[in-house]
C-alpha cells in the first residue's frame, strides 16, 4: 500500500517540472518558434533558483530568480531565432550546451565545486503540498484560456500560423514572438527551480538531465494542447516513478529507464502523421 502511495507521489513529483516546461514549450511553438531550448531554460531555472536562494536565504526569491534565469535564456532564444534568423534547432541546442557549460563554470567560481552546490533554503513538503504544483495547475488553465479565448491568444496563434499575414494586418510579429518564447523560458525556469528547490535543496551538475528534451516530446505528443500535456507528462512521470520503486528488485534499472523513451519513439513512429505543428514554425515575416 505504501508502495502504491510512493509510486503515485513520485509520479506526480516527477511530472511537475515536465508539465511546466512543456506548457512553456506550447506557448513557444504556438508563436512559431521551435522549443528545443527548453533544456537550457530548465537548467538556468534550477541553477539561478539555487543562486537566488543562496544569496537571499529565501526559497521564494530563489524561485523568482529561477524564473528570471529561464526567461533570460528564453529571450535569448527569441532574439537569436526571430531577430537573427538562426536555425531554431541550432539555436536551441547551442543554448542548451551554453547553459550546462556556463552553470558548471559558475559553480566552480562561486562554490569551488564541480559537482554540486551547498544546500540552500528550499520549499518543504511533498508534491501535494507544494505551492508550485498548484501554480502549475493554474498555469495550465490560464494558458488554455489565454490561447483560445483572449485577443492576445488569437494574435499569438495567427503569428505562429502565418507570420507574413500577421505582419500585413499590422500585428507586431516580433514582439508577440518575444513574449511567447520568453514566457516559455519563465515556465521552464519555474520547472527547473522546482527540481533544485522543491525536489532537492541544491543544484547538481547537469540537473535537468534531458528533461527539457522530454518536455519537447511531451508537448508534441500532447498535440500542443495544455490539458493533454498533463496526461502525457504523467505517463513519463509514472515510468520514472516505477523505475525508482523497482530499484533493487532484479529488474535492471537501465531497462526501466529506457521504457518511456521507447514508448515515445513508438508514438512518434505511428502517431506523428496526426500531429501538425502551426504552419509558420521556423518561418519569418519578412522573407
Amino acid at each position: 500500500m505504501s508502495d502504491l502511495m510512493s509510486v503515485i507521489t513520485s509520479t506526480f513529483s516527477m511530472s511537475v517540472p515536465l508539465i511546466l516546461a512543456a506548457l512553456g514549450g506550447v506557448l513557444s511553438v504556438k508563436s512559431g518558434v521551435m522549443a528545443l531550448g527548453l533544456e537550457s531554460m530548465m537548467t538556468m531555472g534550477a541553477f539561478c533558483g539555487v543562486l537566488g536562494s543562496f544569496y537571499s536565504g529565501n526559497a521564494v526569491i530563489g524561485i523568482l530568480a529561477g524564473m528570471a534565469g529561464g526567461g533570460l535564456f528564453g529571450l535569448g532564444h527569441a532574439v537569436l531565432s526571430v531577430r537573427y534568423k538562426v536555425n531554431q534547432v541550432i539555436s536551441g541546442i547551442g543554448l542548451n550546451l551554453l547553459a550546462v557549460a556556463a552553470t558548471t563554470l559558475l559553480m566552480q567560481i562561486i562554490w569551488d565545486n564541480k559537482g554540486s552546490s551547498p544546500q540552500v533554503a528550499s520549499i518543504d513538503g511533498n508534491v501535494f503540498t507544494s505551492p508550485i504544483t498548484y501554480i502549475m495547475l493554474a498555469v495550465m488553465f490560464f494558458e488554455y484560456f489565454l490561447l483560445f479565448k483572449t485577443r492576445f491568444g488569437l494574435r499569438l496563434r495567427m503569428v505562429g500560423e502565418n507570420p507574413k499575414a500577421a505582419s500585413t494586418v499590422g500585428l507586431a510579429v516580433h514582439k508577440i514572438k518575444y513574449i511567447g518564447v520568453t514566457a516559455s523560458g519563465v515556465l521552464a525556469g519555474l520547472g527547473g527551480a522546482y527540481l533544485s528547490l522543491d525536489h532537492l535543496n541544491m543544484y547538481v551538475r547537469d540537473m535537468s538531465a534531458g528533461r527539457g528534451y522530454i518536455a519537447v516530446a511531451i508537448m508534441i505528443l500532447a498535440k500542443y494542447n495544455p490539458f493533454q500535456v498533463l496526461l502525457c507528462a504523467l505517463i513519463f512521470g509514472f515510468s520514472d516513478a516505477l523505475q525508482i520503486s523497482f530499484q533493487g528488485r532484479g529488474v535492471p534499472p537501465q531497462i526501466m529507464a529506457m521504457l518511456p523513451y521507447a514508448v515515445t519513439l513508438l508514438v512518434l513512429a505511428f502517431g506523428a502523421r496526426h500531429i501538425t505543428p502551426p504552419a509558420g514554425v521556423g518561418c519569418h515575416d519578412d522573407d
Binding site: L80, V86, L105, G210, P252, Y261, L265, L268, F270
Partner: protein, 356 residues
C-alpha cells in the same frame, strides 16, 4: 561604380569567411570570460597555444582530441547534406562502440589487421543501422528526426550501461565495464610513447572519401538536391527516401567509427557513459566547417587544439576546463547567426570610427 564593386567584394569576402569571423569573436568572448574569472586572457591563450602546438606531445594531444571531433563533425555534415539534423550521433557512437567491442571480445585469436578491420566494420554496421532506423522512421512515418534521435540517444546510453553492468561485465569486478581487450585488438600507435593512434588517419581519410562522394558521384548530386528541395527532387525522379536513408546510414556509420576507434584506441574496453557529449561537439565542428567535409578536418583540429591546450591550462593555472565548453557553445551560436556577427562588427566599427 568601382568603389561600389570594391565594397561588394569586401562584403562577399566577409560573407565567405563569416565562420572565421565568428570563431574569432567567440575566442574574444572566451577571453573576456577568462578575464572575468580573474585570469589574464593573453597569458591563458598563450598557454593554450603552447599546450596545443609546441612540442611533439602537445601536437599529438591535439590530434588525439581532434579524432572523435572530426568523426562527429563529419557525421553531422553528412546528415545535414540531405537536410536532416542528426542529433543522434551520441547514441550511434555508443552502438558503434558496442559493435567494435563485441568483435574485440570474441574468444578467437585473429591477426591484428583482420581483427581491427572487422571490429571497425562491425562498429560502422551498428552505428549505421541505428541511424538508418531514424531515417526509415522519417521516410516511412514522417517522424521528426530531432526528437527520434534524442529518444534513441537515451535508449542507447542505457542499453550500453545495461550491457556492461550485466552480460558483458568483467567477472569479479564491481566497475561497470568489460574486461580489457587483448592487445591484438588495440589500434596501432602512430607515434610511439603517445596515445595517438591511426584513428586520426582514418578520420581524415573518411573526410576525403565523403568529399569525393559529395562532389563526384550521383549520390552526392542527388543528396544535394534532396537537401535543398524535396519537391524538385521528387519531380526529377530522385528516390528521396532512399537517398535520405543512405545518408543516415553513412552518417551513423561514421558515428559508429567514432565509438569504435574510441574503445579500440583509447579505453581498450567498453565503459558505461564513456562519451563526453561528442555528439553535440560535432555540431560545433560542423558549424565552423560550414558543412564542408574537408573543412571538418581543420575545424576538428582547431577544437582539438583548444581542448588539448585547455587541459594544460587547467593543470598550470587552475582555470576550469568548462570554459572551453562555453566557447564552443558561443561558436555554434555565432556561426549560426551571421546577422548577429554583422551587427557586432557594425557596433565595433562605429566605436572605432568614433575614436578615430
Amino acid at each position: 561604380m568601382s568603389e561600389k564593386k570594391a565594397k561588394l567584394t569586401a562584403k562577399i569576402i566577409i560573407e565567405k569567411y563569416m565562420s572565421v569571423v565568428a570563431l574569432i569573436l567567440a575566442l574574444i568572448l572566451g577571453g573576456i570570460i577568462i578575464f572575468v574569472c580573474g585570469y589574464n586572457p593573453f597569458e591563458a591563450y598563450a598557454s593554450i597555444f603552447e599546450g596545443a602546438f609546441i612540442g611533439k606531445t602537445a601536437i599529438c594531444q591535439t590530434l588525439i582530441q581532434a579524432t572523435p571531433l572530426i568523426f562527429a563533425g563529419l557525421a553531422y555534415v553528412v546528415a545535414k547534406r540531405v537536410n536532416l539534423i542528426n542529433l543522434g550521433i551520441e547514441g550511434q557512437l555508443y552502438m558503434g562502440a558496442l559493435g567494435a567491442s563485441l568483435v574485440a571480445l570474441m574468444p578467437v585469436s585473429l591477426p591484428t589487421p583482420v581483427l581491427i578491420v572487422s571490429a571497425l566494420i562491425s562498429a560502422m554496421l551498428f552505428g549505421g543501422l541505428y541511424a538508418g532506423l531514424v531515417g526509415a522512421m522519417k521516410v516511412k512515418f514522417g517522424s521528426n528526426e530531432v526528437i527520434a534521435t534524442m529518444m534513441l540517444n537515451t535508449i542507447a546510453q542505457n542499453f550500453i550501461s545495461y550491457m556492461v553492468n550485466y552480460p558483458l561485465k568483467e567477472e569479479g569486478k564491481t566497475l561497470a565495464q568489460t574486461r580489457l581487450f587483448d592487445e591484438t585488438a588495440w589500434l596501432p600507435k602512430l607515434v610511439n610513447g603517445t596515445q595517438l593512434t591511426i584513428g586520426i588517419l582514418a578520420a581524415a581519410a573518411v573526410c576525403i572519401g565523403v568529399k569525393l562522394i559529395f562532389d563526384r558521384t550521383r549520390l552526392g548530386y542527388e543528396s544535394r538536391c534532396v537537401g535543398l528541395s524535396i519537391p524538385a527532387s521528387e519531380t526529377a525522379g530522385i528516390k528521396i527516401g532512399k537517398v535520405m536513408i543512405i545518408a543516415m546510414l553513412i552518417s551513423g556509420a561514421i558515428s559508429g567509427l567514432l565509438g569504435g576507434t574510441h574503445v579500440l584506441g583509447s579505453d581498450h574496453r567498453l565503459i558505461a557513459d564513456f562519451s563526453s557529449g561528442y555528439g553535440f561537439d560535432g555540431i560545433a565542428v560542423a558549424a565552423l566547417a560550414g558543412d564542408s567535409p574537408i573543412a571538418v578536418i581543420l575545424s576538428g583540429i582547431i577544437f582539438g587544439a583548444l581542448r588539448a591546450g585547455c587541459m594544460v591550462l587547467n593543470r598550470t593555472t587552475g582555470i576550469p576546463t568548462e570554459f572551453i565548453d562555453v566557447i564552443q557553445a558561443c561558436i555554434i551560436l555565432l556561426v549560426a547567426a551571421p546577422l548577429l556577427v554583422k551587427d557586432i562588427l557594425r557596433i565595433g566599427k562605429r566605436r572605432g570610427g568614433r575614436k578615430a
